[in-house]
């Protein structure tokens, strides 16, 4: 057994330093009054290009991604590389969509995607469903960040294989995170994201050059991976795709891209920026993280070449084990801190986003209609603690493999908000009742399909993956397809058909609180008179464009 003392010391020092930054963040760009949802939950809606780049980058490319994607390549090969096309196509897809979302939210003071749906379709019920969908989809995602930290802790040998005590380091780490998120709100992850990304970029640049030098070059690494997959009995692996998983590959990439900016935490990052320009410029800058992700993904193959084996049978320990085996101890400690801190940023933003959904679309809508912005902020702060406790419970009481399955389901269910939120930004054509019907149909179909998919590795009979064999639909085919993609198509079809039926039978539809100009408004334009929040318009000379 190797001695991990150096790694643990480096990790702990960096972790504590970052925690201190999290507490100090409350004073950063200090507002007059932090106890306002615009301040606590959206950082004052004032972030410029650089902060937004770090914040959204830290938000979307999570520690879990950095741990799980290489684990996927390690186990299955090329199929795991879908994360690269996914994060390439996302930005051109959403460039104008997010600008519209920012504009309408700025004009009306929206904090959550459900706020938008409520105003667009004048339907608190639809907004409630969107909010619940968002909260349910986000919870396991937060849990997965903990799984990311845990993979590092496991590698350093500070958590055993069983017993309650094994979770203690994780609980301490999470308690610190909960405390500074409570105090500083979105400013904490925004400030920590700088440190996190600096560490991650450093580690990856070193890894990309240092590891191949130790392993005989990239060519040798790919050859080792190829040899492993050729020898394995499974038919779906290999360093390129085969005839049967190409459809799954592209529908998973496309469906995941559609889903990404429907997640409440992604929207939080977008709404915290100060004008449309910041968002549009970031669509060209964020792919730098995709390059990073692609290189990290290939560490899965490097692990094959280095003959790394998972710890306690947990595939997520592949990358940490690779670092442990090949890096000097002090640098492995920095790498582990990068992953651990990388988990804190998204976990904080996700819990803030889920808390905002609860506050705006459940508490204010159904429990206390006249809540002041101060009360909203207080409720959100408490809700963020509850959300984190829930995520912690997932990890402590449930098999981590199960939370990974839940995250998979999370992606499929958040995709069912596409017609209301995504298309809603462009058209008010759908009937609000039809959107509810489509949402329900999409979810039912998705659950039926996911139920049918076994997981060969973990021997679960259900919810074992997102690749659905077309043969189960009765097609004479060996191909498979991404569940979420099929479900959202059915969702859209149902929403369209039911809209026609409801219109024909003259069932009352809601109105629309937004006007077309809202969707192109910029920071220099006045907030709409009926705006719920008090979107501050005085800060707002747009940044000069370089």
């Amino acid at each position: 057994m190797k001695d991990h003392v150096t790694e643990i010391v480096v990790f702990t020092i960096l972790f504590l330093a970052v925690s201190a930054i999290g507490f100090v963040a409350a004073r950063w760009r200090r507002p007059d009054d932090l106890l306002h949802l615009n301040e606590w939950g959206l950082g004052g809606r004032s972030f410029g290009g650089w902060i937004t780049w770090f914040l959204i980058g830290g938000d979307l490319y999570t520690a879990y991604t950095f741990v799980a994607v290489p684990a996927l390549l390690f186990a299955a090969g090329a199929a795991g590389f879908f994360a690269v096309p996914y994060t390439v196509i996302i930005y051109p897809m959403v460039m104008f969509v997010l600008a519209r979302l920012w504009s309408v939210s700025h004009r009306h003071g929206f904090v959550t995607p459900a706020d938008f749906v409520r105003a667009r379709f004048q339907s608190p019920t639809l907004a409630l469903l969107i909010a619940l969908t968002g909260i349910v989809a986000t919870m396991p995602y937060i849990a997965l960040q903990l799984v990311g930290i845990e993979s590092v802790l496991k590698t350093m040998g500070v958590v055993g294989a069983s017993g309650f005590g094994r979770h203690l380091p994780l609980i301490i780490a999470f308690a610190i995170l909960a405390a500074y998120t409570y105090q500083s709100g979105l400013r904490a992850p925004a400030l920590i994201a700088f440190v996190k990304d600096a560490l991650i970029y450093l580690v990856i640049i070193v890894a990309v050059f240092y590891l191949p030098a130790k392993l005989g070059g990239w060519g040798a690494i790919f050859d080792a991976a190829n040899a492993k997959f050729t020898a394995s009995p499974a038919k779906t692996d290999g360093i390129i795709l085969n005839a049967n998983n190409q459809l799954q590959y592209i529908t998973l990439a496309f469906g995941s891209a559609l889903a990404l900016f429907l997640y409440p935490h992604s929207v939080t990052g977008v709404l915290a920026s100060k004008n449309r320009d910041v968002i549009k410029r970031n669509m060209s800058a964020l792919p730098a993280y995709s390059l990073l992700l692609g290189l990290i993904a290939l560490l899965g193959f490097a692990a094959i070449a280095a003959k790394v084996t998972p710890i306690h049978g947990d595939g997520n320990t592949i990358v940490p084990s690779l670092f442990d085996k090949l890096f000097p101890d002090w640098f492995a400690g920095i790498a582990f801190a990068a992953v651990g801190i990388g988990a804190l940023v998204p976990a904080a933003i996700m819990s803030i986003a889920a808390a905002n959904l609860f506050t705006r679309n459940i508490y204010k809508e159904y429990l206390k209609r006249d809540a002041s912005p101060q009360q909203e902020a207080s409720v959100s702060k408490l809700a963020s603690l509850v959300v984190k406790l829930g995520a912690l419970a997932f990890v402590v009481f449930v098999n981590p493999q199960f939370s990974i399955d839940l995250q998979l389901i999370g992606g499929v269910i958040i995709l069912q908000t596409l017609p209301s939120v995504g298309l809603g930004l462009y058209t008010r054509w759908f009937h609000r009742g039809a959107l509810i019907a489509g949402w329900a149909a999409g979810l039912l179909l998705a659950f039926w399909m996911l139920w049918q998919i076994p997981n060969a590795a973990t021997k679960h009979a259900h919810f074992g993956g997102s690749a659905f064999p077309l043969s189960k639909f009765g097609f004479d085919s060996t191909k498979s397809i991404y569940v979420g993609f099929v479900a959202v198509l059915v969702n859209l079809a149902v929403a369209a058909i039911v809209t026609l039926i409801l219109r024909a039978s003259k069932v009352a539809d809601g109105g629309d609180d937004t006007v077309p100009e809202d969707y192109t408004a910029d920071a220099t334009d006045e907030p709409a008179a009926q705006g719920k929040g008090d979107a501050d318009s005085e800060d707002l000379a747009p940044e000069p464009i370089t």
Binding site: V88, I89, F254, D522
Partner: protein, 70 residues
């Protein structure tokens, strides 16, 4: 208040360019092969990583062409 007839309310034709980096990475026949290798990377990997440049280039052009004139 913005004037609905102002130029930025109309979708710009430059936006259609964005279809290229969305569609091209989804055509597996372009990249689903081992050879030719580049710096040891099979085509499957280096070409998909190269698409990142395609995405950055296109979004930059579209941003420059659609940003507000002052």
């Amino acid at each position: 208040m913005s004037d609905p007839s102002s130029p930025r309310s109309r979708p710009s034709p430059w936006g259609w360019l964005l279809l290229i980096p969305v569609v091209v990475p989804l055509i597996t026949t372009f990249y689903n092969a081992d050879s030719p290798r580049f710096l040891g990377f099979p085509r499957f990997y280096w070409l998909q990583l190269a698409y990142i440049i395609l995405g950055v280039g296109t979004t930059t052009v579209v941003y420059q062409m659609t940003k507000k004139r002052r």
